[in-house]
């Protein structure tokens, strides 16, 4: 595209200024559904990172031969393929994690941040740039889910990454935080705080 963005910028935009969850409000379904613990958030984040990275590389490689009329079906096939790879991998290597993420792994297929990156970026850029862009997006998605998961896990169960550091004697778990309601509360507050901070800093975004 015209006016080359620097490679570093291509990476960092996904982390903050154009973060999929907190700025573009994409991928909210997994962000709300599986952020009930830090481990689940991390696993979902990395799984999504893998899919967005592989799909972006693949799409960028074949971008010149994809006919315009079937570009969406082609991308969906590619994305669905890599999602299934992740699903099988988790089942084989991390059965407990696969169980706790349940149907949300197959549902990565319909996470629009992945199709979004493939459609709006990988289709028009070189493989190298697509890798950098996908990494920024993937890591940006992962950190949000880990932070969200950690906040909900600490408040909801008094533990972090499964390690119990607040005992029931001194701390009453806020059960609501690990229920769906807690997801909306924490994500809403997080987006609010981050946008407030961005606006105060002069909001170059």
């Amino acid at each position: 595209m015209a006016g080359k963005t620097s490679l570093g910028r291509e990476f960092t935009k996904g982390l903050w200024d154009e973060n999929a969850v907190i700025k573009q409000l994409l991928g909210l379904c997994p962000a709300l559904a599986v952020s009930n613990s830090a481990v689940n958030g991390l696993a979902m984040g990395l799984a999504t990172y893998f899919v967005v990275l592989s799909a972006s590389i693949f799409v960028s490689l074949i971008k010149s031969v994809i006919p315009k009329d079937v570009r969406i079906p082609v991308k969906i096939i590619i994305i669905a393929g890599f999602v299934t790879v992740v699903d099988i991998f988790l089942k084989a290597m991390f059965p407990a994690l696969s169980k706790s993420l349940g149907p949300y792994i197959p549902l990565i297929v319909v996470n629009c941040l992945i199709l979004g990156r493939a459609e709006s970026f990988a289709s028009h850029h070189s493989v190298g740039r697509s890798i950098i862009d996908a990494s920024g997006t993937g890591i940006g998605f992962t950190w949000v889910l880990v932070v969200l998961g950690a906040v909900r896990e600490i408040l909801g169960t008094g533990s972090i990454f499964g390690f119990q550091f607040l005992t029931e004697a001194t701390f009453t778990p806020w059960i609501v935080m690990i229920l769906p309601g807690g997801a909306f509360l924490s994500l809403g507050l997080m987006i609010g705080i981050i946008n407030y901070v961005s606006a105060r800093r002069g909001g170059q975004a």
């Binding site: 006919p67 009329d69 082609v74 059965p95």
Partner: protein, 202 residues
Amino acid sequence: MKEKTAGMLIVLTVVATIIGGVLATVYKTAAPRIEANRLAEEKRAIFEVLPGAARYETIEAVIPGDKGDETVKIFRGFDDTGQFIGYAYTTAGPGFQAIIKMMVGLQPDYLKLHGMQVLEQLETPGLGNKILYDDFRDQFKGLELHPKIDYVKNKKPEKPNEIQSIAGATITSKAVADIITEDSRRIIAYLKAHEGEVAEAE
């Protein structure tokens, strides 16, 4: 126009074939591990609900259910002296939010349970999911199935077939009691009818 259609077909076919190939390879590599994981989990649950068991045998039982015949796996547990100590089988049914799946251990008298282990559940955290805790599960050790598993609220159970329900999660507690009662009834009927064959299999 024709060329365009041909191009679309070729690209879609090639992409789908490549992805299909990748998936087939990944699945073939992973399938044995997935099966091993499933068996390991099953084994852990069986030993959990049959205390003292050193080994077990599997019977494939065909049991008539609501939706036609079902093939059910029943496990017979033996202690280290070869003494038969009881049966284990899975039970499943609707809980408060989703299917609750459990492994149940039955004593050879067909009346008392050895114990219960939850395999799958999505009950409310903090309320219904207390069925995972030992406080609740321990009540099933020695619990009688006849005439059915019953529950009492907010007091100690008095009869040998009663459990105390989880405060605030009566539906879940009732679901667990009913699922185990119902499925056990069918399995016991099968075992009693096939007692000769089952023992011969040893």
